[in-house]
Amino acid sequence: MNHLRLVVIFWICLVLLPVAGRAADDGYGYPIPGSYEATILGTPDNLKLAPPDKISIRQLVLNVIPDIKKPDVFFYDKGLRCTLAYQDKKAPLVFVIAGTGAGDQSQNVVAMMKGLYKAGYHVITLPSPTYPNFIISASYNHVPGDLTEDAADLYRVMETAWNKVKGDIEVSDFYLCGYSLGATQAAFVAKLDEDRKVFNFRKVLMVNPAVNLYNSIMRIEKLLDKIPGGPRKIGAYFNSMMAKFTGFYRRGDFIDFNDELLYTVYRSKLFSHVEEGGLIGLSYRISSAGMIFSSDIMTNGGYVVPKNRSLSATDPLGDYFLVCVHLSLINYFDEYLYPYLLKKRPELTKAEFIDSLGLKGIEGYLKSSSKFGVMTNDNDFILAPGELDYLRQLFGERTKVYPRGGHLGNLEYRDNMTYFVGFFK
């Protein structure tokens, strides 16, 4: 069970949904109108495509950086974990890059993998460069966030994975896709591939990308501004939401923690719109806590763990957890990533730094290449005002915008999945 799964199971229990009664009359059948609700609930099972009857999977554990020294506290990390789904005939291979904090088997990645596999593709799923396992085992600098450096790390991982499997599978072409942060990174990986030419990706699909990470992070963090006492009281918020859910559970007639319970919570409107936003902000914090801690340990950066402290495999980490959950991604960018980049490029201004965290820096390339496509939603809350139009300008009619679905909530909806898979045809 990966950590997102833990978190998701709980949030799913927590938040849920409703399936909103009627769909708006716009010919699009995804039923959940609210952006936050859609993001939390995802797609009801009966509106998903059937999974493939069987799927041949191999877990890859990659030794990307030879002779890397891993601290004791990460003793369980045996190498970068990726997943290969293989056809037993010649087929195109699609690389899938996970979103913020997600591993190679997170729910969205697996959904993409199954959809592609069913349509006859080989698939290799890659964890996000913000996922602890990636930071520890596959990142040369162990500091995620810089799109150019992350793309170089990802490219190296793809080459390593490809070298490991190329004797076993027959591949006709290479494709690339990613979601959320992984979509933004896919654009930079594709750019790098134009020089390196190992894969010569024929098509690249970005699903619910961030146009600029800094803007998106500001928007996600803003979700916590409205909780009682603001983001500094995130612990109290967590506990009060939990108490609310506990009271609900006590009153109701449920036993199992399943989808039905989720939907009941949703229909009952247990959580307000603001509270739902807060829960999304909170789950990002829980995820980024792992990223911040892992990076700090690997670089001996003295950010949340005292510099030069050597943690053992069984040292208590609860205090670090508490600290990391209280740090926003803005803190991380301003206090950790920016100073790190300044050491390498002393002339880098804050404005240049922020610009470098988005598609703008490579927009000329993106505009000129016909291999890209974008799928996103009109109510995806990670996009700042104007960014949706910017995507349309960049990619023209290869931009597919759905009227609702929040951030990735409609990924598994049958129309979306059909379009997603069909893009590579």
Binding site: F75, A236, T246, S294
Partner: protein, 258 residues
Amino acid sequence: MSVAICRVYAVIAALYFLLSVCGCATTNTVKFAPEVPAMHSVSEFSDDERVVDIEDPWETFNLNMYKFNYNFDRYFFLPVVSGYEFITPTLVQKGVSNFFANVGEVRTFYNSVFQLKGKKVLITFGRFAINTTVGIGGLFDPATRFGMEAQSGDFGQTLGYWGVDSGPYLVVPVLGPNTLRSAGGFAVDVGIRYVIVGTIDPFQNVKNGYIILGGISALEAVDMRHKQKFRYYESGYPFEYYMFRFLSNKKSELLLMK
């Protein structure tokens, strides 16, 4: 049985020692320079409540046991489970799971009685009766299809029902995350099972019947691990111990309400 439990724990102690030694062999012995305080520390956030906070006075022991269980899984338990999954057809695995779940209804039944929960008692009795007969000795689970969902019930829950505090969090060797109450309850349930099996004595006319019983217990343990998707440290999340501690505590607290 008590001798058997002692033996099991002696084996575990030996394994723990071995695995600890193995662990030491790979310990990183790089010496760092003197420590420098971090930019952010816990005192800065003392005005907020803690997150996923569960009483854990034995944290050091628990963290060690968490790691021990990881190694036990990795080098022994999971390879055995994989072997079982490899040689056994899925249908048979399902039958084995159903069989032990059906045996477990007995535990749910008496604990529901102890907790004065009439509805649970009736459902559990109905499930056991249907699955044992129509379900051919428990190999199939028609009761669920008839709308009688499996109930939960163990002695740890019974203690909770009668107001016994959950006690500290406790990671038990092999069994994994528990509380003192649930671990104690487990021991009581095992004891009750021992008395029941001893009374019925199903293999009284069989030579070396205790070997068969031992084999059945081993199969039950393998089936139990086979059904659990949880893998220690698999999330890759550095704070997995804390998240998991919270979620498992919360879940048992919620189940106790039912």
